[in-house]
């Protein structure tokens, strides 16, 4: 299928590359389909794009939170698993949405509301963690790698 996107032009993707998000994302409840695209076609990257199927302009940067917070814990309850069509103990992807401000060294990931993807059945959902241990704006880079005032380009 042809997919119009603002950032990447017109793409040709397979139907089986579409991940269904029956509930959309918080604040984007009507966005019920996304596809994952390489962050940078030429270089391997810890990040990926999550491009909307319905809105050409809408794409999120996502990344695996375990790369930054190795003991990141996402406990899915049985009823949560059912929402993404997961059988007990089936593997799933956990990704967090990244916000990249003008000074990109200050990019943050939303650890409170991870996106869970059942890659086998291609169903996704954004969950909200209970508890207070994680931040919606977790800096991906440590202090010494951030340049608070300058805007490097």
């Amino acid at each position: 299928m042809k997919l119009e996107t603002t950032r990447f032009g017109t793409l040709d993707i397979e139907e089986n590359q579409v991940i269904e998000f029956p509930d959309g994302l918080y604040g984007f409840e009507k966005e019920t389909g996304f596809t994952l695209l390489p962050f940078n076609p030429n270089v391997e990257s810890p990040m990926e794009w999550m491009q909307s199927i319905l809105s050409p302009h809408l794409a999120f940067v996502i990344t695996d939170p375990h790369l930054y917070v190795p003991d990141y814990k996402l406990k899915l309850m049985e009823e949560d698993k059912k929402k993404v069509g997961l059988e007990v103990d089936a593997p799933f992807l956990t990704r967090c949405i990244v916000t990249i401000p003008e000074n990109y060294t200050e990019m943050t990931a939303n650890l409170v509301a991870p996106v869970v993807i059942n890659s086998q059945k291609r169903i996704g959902k954004q969950f909200v963690l209970t508890g207070m241990e994680y931040d919606t704006r977790h800096y991906l880079l440590p202090d010494e790698m951030r340049t608070p005032t300058a805007t490097p380009h």
Partner: protein, 79 residues
């Protein structure tokens, strides 16, 4: 909206298994105790607002060079 008046120490029950008790009232702050089955999800409402806002901000990311961003993150992960 159903509105009920409760005194300190009094509770309301929702279904058979959720009980919300007024523990204390100090000025404008009310402390609530909630007893519910383990799988019940309980959130402060502001959390959802913050997440909507954060999704909104993430969706309007600035222009950036993916190669530089990737490199920085890879450097960090290697450490």
């Amino acid at each position: 909206m159903l509105v009920l008046t409760r005194k300190i120490g009094e509770s309301i029950k929702i279904n058979e298994d959720v009980k919300i008790t007024v523990i204390d009232v100090k000025g404008k702050n009310i402390r609530l105790g909630i007893e519910a089955p383990r799988e019940t999800k309980i959130y402060r409402e502001e959390v959802f607002l913050r997440i909507k806002e954060e999704n909104q901000t993430a969706a309007t990311s600035h222009q950036f060079d993916p190669t530089k961003v990737s490199q920085l993150v890879k450097d960090k992960i290697k450490k």
